[in-house]
Symmetry: C2
Subunit: 192 residues, 2 copies
């Protein structure tokens, strides 16, 4: 199943930014701001991958800018974010849920789950960032922990498990979601 991004979101969100004084950004936008902070300060080089699109037809139409006039979204082969921090390969996906009590594992596509495990087995640092919107809380779950739910054939991860895991990311002004500090203060929870 391909999850389609919503291409009109960007302009909507821009209106929101103006109205609410930079509050109400999406998880993706908060993570992009965080990653930009890391890049601008030479801390880490982690980027969101572009959405894969299959281009069918382009049109030059006598203008300077080539336009794509027919295309469709393809399925992602990996996760959304990857990069390097201090010699470590970093790889993760970010998910939001409206549930109070748990995050269903079906939110993670099977090829994403496989990719997180491949990275973990190769000695990288792979994880999910989960935003529980109702609680307005952000958590990291390392692959080292996540794989247990798959091995036990669990369908979801309860909210309380995140509280026990003790890898909450506090929301700050800048960087917004300083996930690297949380990870490297708890590095033993991530490495094989």
């Amino acid at each position: 199943m391909i999850k389609y991004p919503r291409p009109k979101r960007e302009s909507k969100e821009k209106i929101n930014i103006v109205k609410k004084g930079n509050m109400g950004l999406t998880l993706e936008e908060d993570l992009n701001l965080t990653n930009n902070y890391y890049i601008d300060n030479d801390i880490a080089f982690i980027y969101k991958k572009p959405t894969p699109i299959h281009v069918v037809r382009v049109s030059n139409n006598n203008t300077k800018q080539m336009r794509i006039v027919d295309a469709f979204y393809k399925e992602k082969s990996t996760t959304d974010y990857n990069g390097i921090y201090n010699g470590y390969y970093i790889d993760f996906d970010a998910k939001e849920t409206n549930s109070k009590t748990s995050i269903p594992l079906k939110n993670v596509a099977s090829h994403q789950a496989r990719h997180l495990e491949n990275v973990y087995q190769s000695g990288g640092i792979s994880f999910l960032i989960i935003h529980f919107k109702v609680h307005d809380k952000y958590f990291i779950i390392p692959q080292k922990e996540l794989r247990k739910y798959y091995n036990d054939n669990k369908k979801s991860i309860p909210y309380e498990d995140f509280l026990k895991l003790n890898l909450e990311i506090p929301f700050k002004l800048n960087p917004r979601l300083d996930y690297l500090t949380i990870i490297f203060n708890n590095i033993e929870k991530f490495l094989k």
Copy 2:
């Protein structure tokens, strides 16, 4: 300057494959086959990043598949390929040249050059793969070497320098361009 991919290439190349018995693939296709070999054999998890596209308008048009009807290519922020091998962060770009004598450095966009240097400084393995089409030879140039040309304000890298560097990738059936073996037999040429 944004380099536009050629969206009609895929089908053309498919015809070539049939005609020439799998010869005459592009560098990108040979690298994708190589990376697929690494993935299928659990050796490394290195992927080509999708081309960044800004979607302006989509149409549902009463069909099941959402189509993109207006979009344009955006500038890449990094390189084309990245991933993990045995705990190492791997990051590179691939360039082809028709020149017999050298590869001009203008083939590497300034943000790509900066990204390769950022990865190198962070303890990752960053490099270029260069295909000299006239000689039909493939070479790796590590960032540790590449940065010297930038520091010396060089405009290009002579073909003889690649021969001296001794990091040629032999073209084989499977994997096509086994660049990881060359790198890890010469790892001191790559690490900071």
